[in-house]
Amino acid sequence: MTAADFAVLADLPLGAYRAHGPGGGVDLLPAPARLHAALLCAAATGTRATLSDGVLSPTDADVDALSWLEVNPPDGALIPRHARSAAATRAYRGLGLRETRAGAERIRLVGKDSGDSVAVTGAFAWTWSTAPPPEVVEALTALTPDVSHLGTSESPARLRVGAAVPTHRRDPDADLFTAEDGVDLDVPESGRTAALRALHAAATVTPSPKQDLSSANEPELRPAAENGWVVSARYAALDTSDEPEGPWSVVLVAALGRSVQPGERVSWAVTLHRALVAAVGYGAPGVLTGAYGTGAHRPANRVAVQFLDRATASALDLAGDHGVVLVALPTGIDPVESATVTAAFTGLRVLRRRSMSCRLHHLGARPGRRLWPAGPAGAVRSWATTPVAVPDTRPQRRVPWSLADAVALSAALVVRDRWPEAGDRSDQRYRRLADAAVESGLTVESARRVTDSRPDRWVHRRDPGVVVQPYEAVLRLGDIAGSRAFLAIGQSRHLGGGLLVPTDLVAPA
């Protein structure tokens, strides 16, 4: 990767970025649109602004520079390592507004959720591989020190122009479901500068003295926001790591409108699965339904549905107050079938199960081989079943068999196509597959059965006479899959069970 010809860099002296997106949710990364707005604010009120008839305005040169940004969004971005914190705390603040309750006047006190922030190490940068015209460079060089904040007042910033090596490159051909690793950032479009200036002018009209009177009940009047003239752009990661393709190649993501408890994951997964099949309609492919014609090849995996709770989702920079649902497409899926399932999923807006409903807000796609972030350098990565997994088979009686063997078998079945020679006879086949997994480096660090008064909630279907025995396990994958891959094991791996979530152990110094 080489340095871009021109960059605007931003340091956050307090080490954290705090900002809200257009919908009021946490903004994870400062987008080019935010940079543009911050530069406009500096141009309109900072030291370069001109004062005429008591009104501050940006200079023509600065307006031209901002207009240039609208037509020439950065083609690269330097995104430093960052980590979201989603503290579930609430702070009570006096709003400085009057309210009357039960006949008594008081000052409004409101609880506001606090603690959401994004820790960063290093500077953000927006880069251009071709330097702007000299007059634009001059304007941006002068404006950047006058930018005071990116986001809230708890996010003071130091901006400057300089050089930076981008970590992401804008992909103009990407759409919402381009799965390659990247981020979607808002960029300003032509007209954004004028729109923001018009909004500001409308908001600065002085009200009449009568309108300015204090009243016994005062609402908090937030100025209107301008969300137009902004478009989402995909910045694809310039990732040099060579992760192998995993069992599932694409993971579609949607934020949930309600929390799904661990014990409900299978039920909701079944609900989503049925909704997908219904959406596709007649002729839904076997990769979705799991039903294959007689004699047809049954691949090791099919479309899988899994859930992440809020904390795990935020670790993946996935915004969702109630967690997210993942719909994973298996590697090797037919492109037409992939498009069919994707369209069916993205068309779903709400799931209904019994008397409950759950809204879905689609967040795009991630590559299956790089779903999880890389661990710290030198860390050993283990994987834990989340919440539980269920053995694919009943305990084998004619060969030596333990719970650890069942876990190894479950992992092997996900990649069973590697070992077509494992044979046909069930017990010996299972033994060979479990051994093959171990020979591939799989290590079961721990496994324990989970005692549950309702074990059936961890499976969609069970054979009569077979006892459902959910378990928790921690394993190391060896060569089974890459260190960042989406992976699930066990009988319910396609329907909400047996998701493997990584944990990293760093050796002490």
Binding site: A16, R106, G115, D146, E154, A216, E220
Partner: protein, 406 residues
């Protein structure tokens, strides 16, 4: 090491100046590195016993779990408190700092401590010589202050320009002033940031009544004791004691007098324990870029002098606040190393400057005020606007206090 002096502030507040000044101080518990401290406590959505605000931050490139020891709002509140104390103590020139005062009988409050400063409801609901303050020319000028000309605010409420304020009830033309000073105290936990964040430990608490762990009284005794202290109890407590007394009479038995504050409380683990940090850092940022977005109708040199005055005021409050490290019970801190103060330069360079003592900060503020007077005609003469508070609001506050003390 260059001094943090008026020349530096004036240059910083002029075109081409640096973005910000950063002040960082490592702290440690007064009881020693091993001692646990009580961080800031917050409620949760579940409205349980509360929790600490755990976040994650990078330290030397490593992601670490942190706990918020003192928030931005709390740090600014402390700066306000020390400025108020200095004003009350007659410290020059702070005692002459313009401020807006609202008075309820014998009690008065200024924009220094009111949550929304010049735009707080206590001010807007008040009157001046019987006229609603919102109809007075002076206050209208304050509300109409803008980045194009913030002089009215500078002359009446400079703290609003330093610590921020938002005229949130105004239909348009709202004054929205960012805080130029922001800071926090963060404790770094000896826990890797990629693992699960720690849950707070709980500690035991109990109350021992040496007379008896349980004091049982009949209804008559309850009413008698409550009656003698009626002025001290809220109406809600009095009603609850009356109900307990009636129930005791009905059942013809003695009942617990716990509502009267008698008897002990058995030990239970329901209070948050302290947190052990291996590093505590106090950070502040004074944004010169924020101040440069204000004009005062005094031309470039005069405007820069006015901004430098605001910067000096912020640094004065910071120097005083930094000297006070008692945050709350079980959270006594001391400085573990000198404060590092930096000002950014071009191309990512920084200059390190000497931190200010309180007396140096006072001298700097005096010099800045003289310069602002010379170049912009700024005068500090104490209370700029005296307002009589709305009695309805005061009564409402008293009623709420009574309930809170139950």
């Amino acid at each position: 090491m260059p001094d943090l002096d008026l020349d530096l502030l004036t240059a910083a507040c002029s075109a081409g100046g640096p973005s910000c000044l950063t002040s960082t101080t490592p702290l440690r518990p007064a009881g020693g590195q091993h001692a646990a401290i009580a961080p800031a406590k917050f409620t949760t959505r579940a409205r349980d016993n509360g929790t600490y605000a755990y976040e994650r931050r990078y330290l030397d490139g490593t992601l670490r779990h942190t706990v918020l020891v003192d928030s931005k709002q709390s740090q600014l509140n402390r700066v306000e408190a020390v400025l108020t104390q200095a004003i009350d103590d007659g410290v020059e020139p702070l005692t002459r700092m313009p401020r807006i005062r609202v008075t309820y009988g014998e009690d008065s409050y200024t924009d220094v401590v009111l949550s929304h400063r010049a735009f707080d409801a206590h001010i807007r609901a008040g009157t001046v010589d019987g006229v609603p303050v919102t109809r007075t020319e002076e206050y209208q000028a304050i509300r109409n202050a803008s980045p194009a000309n913030a002089r009215a605010l500078l002359d009446a409420s400079p703290v609003t320009l330093v610590f921020g304020g938002w005229d949130a009830s105004r239909k348009s033309g709202q004054g929205r002033w960012r805080s130029a000073l922001v800071g926090e105290i963060t404790g770094f936990l000896p826990v890797d940031g990629t693992s699960d964040h720690p849950e707070p430990s709980m500690r035991g608490g109990a109350r021992v009544d040496p007379v008896g762990m349980q004091i049982l009284l009949d209804g008559t005794a309850m009413r008698g004791i409550a009656g003698e202290q009626a002025d001290e109890f809220s109406q809600k407590t009095i009603d609850e004691i009356a109900r307990d007394a009636t129930a005791a009479d009905k059942a013809k038995e003695r009942r617990s007098a716990s509502r009267l504050g008698l008897g002990g409380i058995p030990p239970s683990l329901d209070a948050l324990a302290g947190v052990s940090c291996d590093l505590i850092v106090r950070s502040h940022v004074l944004s010169f870029a924020t101040l440069r977005q204000m004009r005062f109708g005094a031309g470039p040199a005069g405007d820069a002098a006015c901004r430098a005055l605001l910067a000096a005021l912020a640094l004065n409050g910071l120097a005083r606040s930094d000297a006070e490290l008692y945050l709350r019970a079980n959270c006594d801190l001391v400085e573990a190393a000198p404060t590092a103060v930096t000002v950014d330069r071009r191309a990512g360079d920084v200059d390190t400057v000497s931190p200010l003592t309180v007396s140096q900060a006072d001298a700097l503020l005096e010099a800045a005020l003289a310069d602002a007077d010379r170049l912009a005609g700024v005068e500090w003469s104490g209370v700029a606007l005296d307002i009589v508070g709305n009695p309805a609001i005061r009564q409402g506050a008293v009623a709420e206090d009574s309930e809170a003390s139950a």
